[in-house]
Every structure is written in C-alpha cells, then in structure tokens.
Symmetry: C2
Subunit: 231 residues, 2 copies
C-alpha cells in the first residue's frame, strides 16, 4: 500500500506544481482556520500568532518529513516486490506466464491472441518483470531522488500558504480587526489558488476556485464555533 | 493529475485501514506539536485546549472535505478521459491501435508479436477503452461512492488521533505538567500506531514505529522552539 499520493505522469502538470498544490492547499486552510477559531475565543493577537506559527512549523514538518519517509518506504516496497517478481520469473515461469495471460484475458482476449506476447515477454526477463510490476501489480517505479525535493517543496508551500492568513495578526494588535482582514485576504488567496490548481488539474477552474474557498470557509467556521463554544 | 492518494488494490490492507492511517498520522502529529509548542509560550491549558480543538476541527475538515472534493474531481477526470478515448477509438482507430502497439514496444516486443493483441482489442471497443485507460494513461477507475465513506473515515481518524495528545491538557490545569504527560502518551501512541501502520504497509514495522515517532517529535520540537522564541 503506497502511502504517497499517486502521480499521473502523463499529465501536463509538473511534479513541482503537484507538490505546491498539495502543500499550499492545507497551508492556506488550516492556519487560517486555527487563527479564525482562536479569534472567537481570545483577543490577543500575540497568542494567535504564536499558535499560528507553531501550527505552520508542525504542519510543514508533518507533511514534508512525513511525506519524505513515506516516499522512501514506497521505494523500498517497490524494490522488494521487484526482487520477488524477478525470483518468481526465474523459479516458476509457467505460473508467471499464466499471470500475464490473465491480465489480457481480463480484456476479453483469447489464449491464442495472447500467446505471442506471453512468449515474447518470457524471453526477456527484465522487460517481463517491468511489465508485471506495472500491469499486474499496478506499481509505478518510484524515483528516490525526487523524495527530498518533493518534501522541501511541499513543506515550503505549506509555510508560504500559512503565512498569508497569519500576516494580518502579525501586523495588527486587535484580533477582531485582524480576523476580518485575514478572511478577506485568505478567501481571495483560496479563490486564486483554487483557480490556478483547477487549471492544472481539472477542466473546471472556476469550480475548483469555489470548492477550495468552501473548504477553507467550512474549516474556519467550524474552528470559530468550537473555540467560541468552549471559551 | 489525480489529487488523491494512490490506492494499491492488490495489497492486503483494506481501504478503511488506508484511510485511518492517512487521517491518524497527521491527527496524532499536528495537534500534539501545536499543544507542545503553545506550552513553550503560555501556561494556560484553557487556551491550549481551545487552540487544539480548533486545530482538530480545521484539520479534520481540511482532510475530510478536501479529500472528498479531490476524489470527486478525480472521478470526473476519469470520466472525461474515458469519453475522449471512446471518441478516439471510434474516430481515429488507426492512431489508437498504434498507441496500443507502443505500450508493448516499450517492453521490447516486435510489431508481429503485438499485432494479434492490437487486432483483438480493436474489435472490442469497450475493452479497448478500458485497456487504454489503465495501460496508456495509467488511470484506475475511481469509485465515487467510496469518496464519502473515505472522507468520513479520514476526518474521524484525524479527530480520534488529535484527542490523544490533547487529553492531558483537558484534564490538567498546569500546561507544564500536561505537556510531560502528553509527550509520554503521544510518543507511546505514535510508536504503537507506527508499528501497526508498518505491519500493513511495509515489511519493517519497527522502523515504521520509530519513524512515526520521529516525525511527531521533530514537529513538536520545532513548534516548541518557535513558540518560545517569539513569546
């Protein structure tokens, strides 16, 4: 079970864009909601800024370092499955040939139609294993050297996103006034970010903008109500 | 570019386990680190509990609702790509047959070896499209009905995870004492959770336990130092 998000290589969005999207989605949302929630309970921006920066540190490390370790696990999982397939291809080739045939029979092909491909693969063990990894197990070959860059990009995007809703609390002394500015600034940022994200990932950027703003608003509203209820 | 994490169907871990792992990883880590960080700056457990519960609300909604909307986008992306493939298979079958052949040539097969499969697929448009979706585009068919269950499980696991580090602050009045209990309880929870996660996802559960505890510790340490530095 890979723990990292699945990358679709055939898409136009670069991996860096993907990482920025992952980090910034949460970075804009959670610190915004936390600060908004605290504004419902306390009027000291100093405490809200402290909590906000602590959250940004925690969130960016959880996503960055957590993602890095998960990517490393995925790479090791791939390598161990690959070793197993190599072994099976050498030791029980008939069963593995049957597994290749099964992949194709799932698409309605007959044994006769599949036989040339099965035979050809069985003469190229390395290609055979590559084929099994992708088409039987559905695993994409991970690139371990990407894990570090990806972790830094995701963590950095979380930090950059989190500082936007927090900026008004850093500048102003009244939590109430800062909350109003933070809502305006962050909703604008969520709409712009959601739109750009939508341009890269879907055919409907305007809906992506509205959905992204919706998640931020619901999270902030819930945090605000909870903080006010218990304070 | 699918925005949701990739599910490896062939694995033994159920989808529910996967969702609990995703939600609880962050739920144990971020509220723990936030509360620890605030303990470095303020001694009022009331404020720490308020911030912690606001964060749990925000984080679980960001992960749950955000994940739900991303899964819906993925499902629509799949449907739109499927419509495009159906259209291309009907309108430009030669080019699509060449694309099937290319998939196999990537594994060193010759045109002769591939021809029977290409021909057989070309006579079954629905199977052909299914084949292209999986083997050319690398897309797994999403199940939209899963999105809601998955969102609730991830959000619920985040909440359950987040209440563990927060419990000592709820019960006790001294932030300093609560911090010490929270560290002991949460490190134990991270080790147990990391071990169980490792049993499901890797061959090395003990390393998974240590890594999970490491991410939580680094996040909490960073949050603590930042909160103390600015307070």
């Amino acid at each position: 079970m890979p723990q990292t998000r699945h990358t679709e290589r055939h898409f136009t969005a670069s991996e860096t864009v993907r990482d920025v999207v992952i980090g910034m989605s949460d970075g804009l949302t959670v610190p915004f909601a936390l600060a908004a929630g605290l504004s419902g309970a306390i009027d000291s921006t100093a405490i809200i800024v402290t909590a906000g920066l602590a959250e940004i540190a925690a969130g960016s490390i959880a996503m960055g370092l957590g993602g890095y370790l998960a990517a490393k696990s995925d790479a090791e999982h791939y390598a161990s499955e690959q070793r197993r397939e190599l072994k099976e291809v050498a030791e029980i080739p008939e069963e593995e040939m049957e597994e290749v045939a099964q992949v194709f029979r799932g698409y309605g092909l007959t044994q006769d139609q599949v036989a040339p491909v099965v035979h050809a693969l069985s003469e190229r063990p390395q290609a055979w294993v590559d084929f099994m990894m992708r088409f039987e197990l559905g695993l994409e070959e991970p690139r371990p050297e990407r894990a570090r860059t990806s972790a830094v990009t995701i963590g950095g995007a979380y930090m950059a996103g989190g500082l936007i809703p927090l900026a008004p609390y850093i500048i102003m002394s009244s939590a109430h006034s800062a909350l109003l500015i933070s809502i305006v600034v962050t909703l604008a940022a969520l709409l712009v970010f959601g739109y750009i994200k939508g341009r890269f990932t879907t055919a409907r950027p305007i809906r992506s903008a509205l959905e992204t703003a919706l998640v931020g608003s619901v999270a902030a509203g819930a945090a605000f109500l909870i903080a006010r209820a218990i304070s």
